[in-house]
């Protein structure tokens, strides 16, 4: 008989035996179902967590590099100089060799003397962090203007007193997220300067980062952006607080940062030291943490799978004891050791695969539901699905192997003697 036919026959025998012990079989199936569903649940929840964390990190720009003067690391052999160590000529130099440096966008960040000035509109007041940026800034940090417009080159060149404000500010000052049509309605006073609000930013969520106490979690929606040239005009000097750069390639972000650092050091003849931070580094750390959490979760869920496997082991051991005589009969009429072993092994694998499929079904349905509710991309991948199936087959084989072997090795005469 061909191996496939033999397999089919033993499968049928296994099905008959399972059908004969429905309650016991269903309980063992349930054990695996719970185990697989638990593993899927953990993987979906961890996927959801990853998605939240990454979408919040993306609000800073995943390819972002921050480069700034490092006051602590000034050369000890020179007298410390004043200044931020970055000026408009540096900006132009970087823009001029962007391709060589691996830079796709760059924006200066210019702070005012007062970092959180009071904003006034008629009798309404708010406080917000105000920074001067280039028009590229919004693209670097994935900001969208929900109403109105971004800065244009004219705003920057003519140092216009225009502002793009976060939704919280707009709500507080205008009572709406839609920009009023008449310009007079959009005039606000920032500190002591009048600005026209030309755009309102789409809301950004950094709730998770805020909830874990990260500094980056603050000020997601109460920011005010103005042209950096305007801020420099107000400051009365052309220095740049720091640069925010978008690396052309995520994988090369740290190399790009290093190149920028070298460029600045040499442009300023070693007078200043510079430091940088990259999102890539933060993401690597985040990946390690999230990966660790996911592994802990998967291990915890796997324990329920292990218990499910024990259920099968227990059931099969009982079955072999109860069916000793049947095994003797089968051997007497010509079953070989491998026939018996396959039959029992298949019973175990059938249980675990049926349980696995049910668990998978529950897991997939649940993640579809969750994906619909949250809008997160939580649909399990084919790799996850086939992995879960593979795991349930392996659990079945492991749980069924010893009982099946014991059944196969039974001496026919002794087996027939049992009651």
């Amino acid at each position: 008989m061909s191996p496939l036919k033999r397999f089919t026959e033993n499968l049928l025998q296994a099905l008959v035996s399972l059908g004969d012990h429905r309650l016991r079989t269903s309980l063992s199936i349930l054990g695996i179902t719970i185990g697989i569903a638990a593993v899927m649940a953990v993987s979906t929840v961890s996927k959801g967590g990853n998605y939240i964390v990454y979408s919040e990190l993306a609000t800073f720009g995943l390819n972002s590099i921050w480069i700034y003067r490092d006051y602590r690391n000034d050369s000890p052999h020179r007298r410390s100089r004043a200044g931020s160590g970055i000026d408009n000529r540096d900006l132009a130099a970087i823009q001029g060799q962007a391709v060589r440096l691996g830079v796709s966008r760059v924006s200066p960040i210019v702070r005012g003397a007062d970092r959180r000035p009071t904003i006034r509109k008629g009798g309404k007041f708010a406080s917000a962090s105000v920074i001067g940026v280039d028009s590229d800034y919004l693209d670097i940090v994935n900001d969208r203007v929900a109403s109105g417009r971004k800065f244009n080159s004219n705003d920057l060149e003519t140092r216009k007193q225009v502002a793009v404000v976060g939704p919280e500010i707009a709500q507080k000052l205008f009572g709406t997220l839609n920009l009023a049509v008449r310009e007079s309605d959009t005039t606000v006073v920032i500190g002591s300067h009048r600005f026209h609000v030309i755009g309102i930013l789409a809301p950004k969520s950094r709730d998770f980062l805020a909830s874990i106490g990260s500094e980056g979690g603050q000020n997601a929606n109460d920011r005010i952006l103005i042209p950096y040239s305007t801020m420099q005009k107000i400051n009365g000097e052309s220095s740049i607080s720091h640069l925010q750069v978008e690396a052309a390639e995520f994988e090369k972000a740290n190399a790009t940062a290093k190149a920028l650092q070298n460029l600045l050091v040499s442009r300023h003849s070693g007078n200043f030291a510079y430091s940088y931070e990259t999102m890539a580094t933060h993401i690597a750390t985040t990946d390690r943490i999230l990966g660790g959490v996911a592994i802990v979760g998967i291990v915890a869920a796997s324990i329920s799978l292990l218990v499910g496997g024990m259920g099968i082991l227990n059931m099969m051991s009982t079955a072999v004891l109860e069916r000793t005589r049947e095994i003797g009969i089968r051997k007497a009429v010509g079953a070989s050791e491998s026939d018996i072993q396959h039959q029992f092994l298949l019973e175990a694998v059938l249980i675990s695969v049926i349980g696995g499929l049910l668990g998978l079904l529950i897991g997939v349905l649940a993640s579809y539901l969750l994906a619909r509710i949250t809008g997160f991309p939580l649909i399990p991948s084919l790799v996850t699905i086939s992995g879960a199936l593979l795991v349930s087959i392996v659990v079945g084989i492991l749980a069924g192997f010893l009982p099946a072997r014991r059944a196969a090795k039974l001496h026919p005469v002794e087996a027939l003697r049992s009651v």
């Binding site: 026959e9 005589r325 051997k331």
Partner: protein
């Protein structure tokens, strides 16, 4: 501790014989039958089945032999309780690797022959003792084995039913199948052509009642 059950048994059983083995309970009849049926192993001596040295056969070859060449009938029927009469009869065909259509056809025909054509789908528990034993005989015959080994096949049946079972076996024997039968009832043994008495693992006597049978065939 091991106690020898069979001692110095020297038998030749020819093809087509109908042999009854008699002896007291515990004399080793079942042990002998199991050895002859290639179901049990033995410590010493030699046993050849159709020319093959059984001790040299692999487990696989032994199970093959059991499924194709030997049919067992037991005192306690030994049907698999969870499956129908038909499935029980199919078992040796399954293990011999026959295809499904052939199996169904042959198993049904065999049940028909045993007068159980209308009971194919019944579970063993839904059949009487005599019917169960006839299912067992159908199962033993289904691969057209060379040898039927029947260990007290009538032991659990009333004498009338037992008698009909014996007639069935006699009929099977007339088609050329060797039959080896254990019994301690003389009336049952009388169906056989040759009676071997054993006691305490040794052959007491061995005689043939029908001169036309030649007990001195080479091998079973």
């Amino acid at each position: 501790m091991s106690v020898p059950v069979l001692k110095g048994i020297d038998l030749v059983i020819g093809q087509g014989e109908f042999v009854a083995i008699m002896g007291q309970s515990g004399s080793g009849k079942s042990t002998l039958m199991n050895v002859i049926g290639c179901l049990d192993d033995f410590d010493e001596g030699e046993y050849r089945f159709a020319g093959a040295d059984v001790r040299r056969l692999s487990l696989r070859q032994l199970s093959d032999l059991r499924s194709r060449k030997i049919g067992f009938v037991f005192q306690s029927f030994n049907l698999v309780n969870q499956i129908s009469a038909l499935r029980n009869v199919e078992l040796p065909l399954i293990y011999a690797g026959r295809n499904r259509q052939m199996r169904k056809r042959v198993a049904n025909a065999m049940l028909e022959m045993m007068g159980l054509g209308d009971r194919a789908t019944h579970l063993p528990s839904q059949l009487s003792g005599g019917q169960q034993q006839r299912v067992a005989i159908a199962r033993a015959l289904v691969n057209r084995p060379a040898l039927i080994v029947a260990d007290e096949p009538t032991g659990s049946l009333d004498s009338e039913t037992g008698d009909s079972i014996m007639h069935q076996l006699a009929k099977v024997n007339r088609t050329g199948t060797t039959i080896l039968l254990v019994t301690h009832e003389q009336t049952v043994a009388d169906h056989a052509h040759r009676i071997i008495r054993i006691s305490d693992g040794v052959v007491l006597d061995d005689f043939s009642r029908h001169s036309e049978q030649k007990p001195a065939g080479r091998n079973p």
